[in-house]
């Protein structure tokens, strides 16, 4: 085994090692500091953790694909909110009311379609104008949020459908519906990125775009489909979350893009594209949620979560750089 491939395995394993460290730390620290007398590694607690990871997690998995492809999407939070509004509002439409429970799949379909269309708009703009995805999605983050407000002003949009709530709160084999969606998306995206031509080409484009172009890979459609994918997943995340909560505020989903990117980067995906893994992002998502719960468990203010996650993100970046240094003889530029 070469030195490089060993370094790769260390990189891939790092996030899981970090999760183990978190588990041990919070369990031990919890013994001394815990505000509740429940053990941290309680089974129900862990199940709940997975469920709570789902909304950001599903988005982060999609973000991984987009980032491997060499792009970024800052508009996912707004897409999430708009899809949620479409989901809840469409169920109140007169003709939908007449459909009974058949309204549910239709509302889901409409919400998912909304997400896919918003993603497609981003993708088409990136493809056809050649403007950097960072700027395009920075713009549509504002624009889509504007659409969210336009839909229902500053009022929350609410609709509780008990069939839907029952479905969202159901547990199958011990796992919540949301968890199943998270794991299902992770599995499908993992297959997509490791087994399919589309996935491998996405890596190639992010890794060396010119080489991919010269080899006849059509960059534009890959961009487009991956943006459609992340739009769809942002909507799926909304569908899973709001089926249960039943009420959406126009500011919901703000900063989700930043949380998702944080999880992706913690998972080791390169900002420049071409390198990253779905499984590691899942690790990144779980690590963040674990930190959130763990800090609560040991009685730290929930506020410190932001502080700790921010500093960990920077520390990860620093360590990654130290590991890749060539030593003293490096050019000082």
């Amino acid at each position: 085994m070469t030195k490089e491939s060993r370094a790769n395995i260390i990189k891939q394993g790092a996030i899981w090692a970090f999760i183990v460290v978190e588990l041990i730390f919070f369990s031990v620290a919890g013994e001394f500091l815990s505000v509740s007398d429940k053990a941290f590694m309680d089974f129900d607690n862990m199940l709940l953790l997975l469920k709570q990871s789902a909304p950001i997690g599903i988005i982060a998995l999609g973000m991984t694909v987009v980032m491997i492809n060499g792009n970024i999407d800052l508009s996912v939070g707004a897409t999430f909110a708009l899809a949620a509004i479409v989901l809840l509002d469409s169920m109140t439409w007169p003709f939908m009311q007449g459909l009974g429970d058949w309204a549910i799949p239709l509302a889901w379909g409409l919400a998912l379609l909304t997400g896919a269309v918003l993603g497609a708009i981003n993708g088409l703009i990136v493809w056809k104008t050649g403007v950097d995805a960072f700027i395009v999605t920075l713009g549509s983050m504002l624009g889509y949020r504007g659409l969210v407000f336009m839909y229902n002003g500053e009022q929350p949009t609410s609709h509780l459908n008990w069939t839907l709530v029952d479905f969202a709160e159901a547990q199958f084999l011990g796992l919540h519906t949301a968890t199943w969606f998270l794991l299902g998306v992770a599995l499908l995206l993992w297959l997509l990125m490791t087994r399919t031509v589309h996935g491998r080409n996405a890596y190639a484009i992010g890794n060396n775009r010119e080489a991919a172009v010269n080899a006849g890979i059509r960059v534009g459609p890959h961009f487009l489909w991956n943006f459609v994918l992340i739009g769809f997943l942002a909507a799926l995340s909304a569908v899973v979350f709001y089926s249960e909560s039943g009420s959406v505020n126009p500011n919901d989903g703000m900063l989700y893009e930043l949380w998702a990117i944080t999880a992706v980067v913690l998972g080791g995906t390169k900002l420049t594209g071409g390198y990253g893994s779905i499984v590691s992002t899942l690790g990144g998502v779980i690590a963040i949620q674990l930190l959130r719960k763990g800090l609560g468990h040991i009685g730290a203010d929930t506020e410190t979560v932001n502080l700790v996650i921010g500093l960990i993100l920077i520390a990860v970046l620093f360590l990654d750089r130290q590991l890749n240094r060539k030593g003293k003889e490096e050019l000082k530029i």
């Binding site: 504002l142 336009m150 900063l255 930043l258 980067v265 900002l271 996650i309 921010g310």
Partner: protein, 324 residues
């Protein structure tokens, strides 16, 4: 249509497009509603853009130096909360310098990470966005911060005062814009910021201390953020912890709208001011037309994409991208 020449109308639009767009906007809004060009209205727009504008001035330096700063929004919340808290504890005279010192210490930390440790600025400032937000919440205990005696303090002058009939926020914005414009365009430091952002390696090979220059751009950015925080705190004399949330992206939008390339090395303070004013006047114009404040989000979206698109289309000489 597919071929834009660099000369003639296309070239002019490419170079001064943002000014032309600005002029067209003003004319269109003015025709639609004469109140739009009322002097009070214009002063009102500039005044309400001043806080965003001051932050955008600092970020302009960071972006020209080839980096990003996503932390300015949460850093502004931090300054606002800190200065309000210290106002009651130390009195306004001590609170202001103390707040500037604390904010600029954060800026120095970011500058150290990006400049000297050469870490990716997007991720560092993303991390700092979160970390500073946490810091603010920890500092305030999650509660809103208010000045106890709102009547008995002169602290409101920075946000509410007038000097010679001109609102102080406008004066601060204008003064900073002029000073920083001169710093950027006329001093050796400004020249070096362009060089470092344009080609950091070549700048290093010319003996320019790249790390120090990048560090300085973040320090300047944090100075501007502290000023904005002071203005915000002074205007409302009380604040939530999240007052600056989301501003980082609006600031970046204004800077990009002004034509600074995210790759670094281009942009000016003047253009950023135009970018800020465009955002402000669009918001105002749409409000006067009876549209809700959120209509500006959609319009801003379209304008940003068009501005950047036409800019790069003029540079490459083709409207549509060559991406297959």
């Amino acid at each position: 249509m597919a071929e834009l020449t660099r000369k003639g109308l296309g070239g002019f639009l490419a170079r001064q497009g943002i000014l032309v767009a600005f002029a067209l906007f003003m004319i269109a809004f003015a025709v639609a509603n004469p109140r739009f060009i009322d002097i009070d209205n214009i002063a009102g727009v500039i005044r309400s853009s001043a806080i965003l504008g001051v932050m955008a001035l600092g970020v302009t330096f960071v972006v020209i130096g080839g980096n990003l700063d996503l932390s300015v929004g949460s850093m502004m919340s931090f300054s606002t909360i800190v200065v309000l808290d210290l106002h009651d504890k130390l009195g306004p005279t001590m609170a202001i310098p103390a707040m500037f010192a604390m904010t600029m210490a954060l800026g120095a930390f970011i500058g150290f990470l990006v400049g000297y440790l050469r870490l990716n600025s997007l991720i560092v400032t993303l991390g700092m966005l979160s970390a500073i937000h946490g810091l603010t919440l920890t500092y305030s205990g999650g509660k809103n911060m208010d000045i106890a005696d709102k009547q008995g303090t002169w602290f409101g002058i920075f946000g509410q005062g007038n000097i010679a009939g001109i609102p102080v926020p406008i004066l601060i914005f204008a003064l900073l814009a002029v000073v920083l414009s001169i710093v950027l365009s006329r001093t050796p430091f400004g020249r070096k910021v362009y060089a470092v952002g344009g080609n950091g390696t070549a700048a290093t090979f010319s003996g320019i201390p790249r790390a120090r220059i990048v560090f300085m751009t973040y320090l300047m950015s944090s100075f501007c953020v502290a000023t904005a925080g002071l203005m915000q705190a002074s205007r409302s004399l009380g604040s939530q912890n999240t007052v600056g949330q989301g501003l980082e992206l609006e600031v970046l939008a204004a800077v990009i709208l002004g034509g600074a390339s995210l790759l670094g090395g281009s942009g000016t303070v003047f253009k950023t001011v135009i970018g800020v004013l465009i955002l402000g006047f669009i918001q105002n114009g749409l409000l006067l037309m009876g549209l809700a404040f959120y209509a500006q989000f959609v319009v801003t979206w379209i304008i940003i994409i068009l501005a950047v698109w036409l800019d790069i289309a003029a540079k490459r000489g083709r409207l549509w991208s060559p991406i297959a």
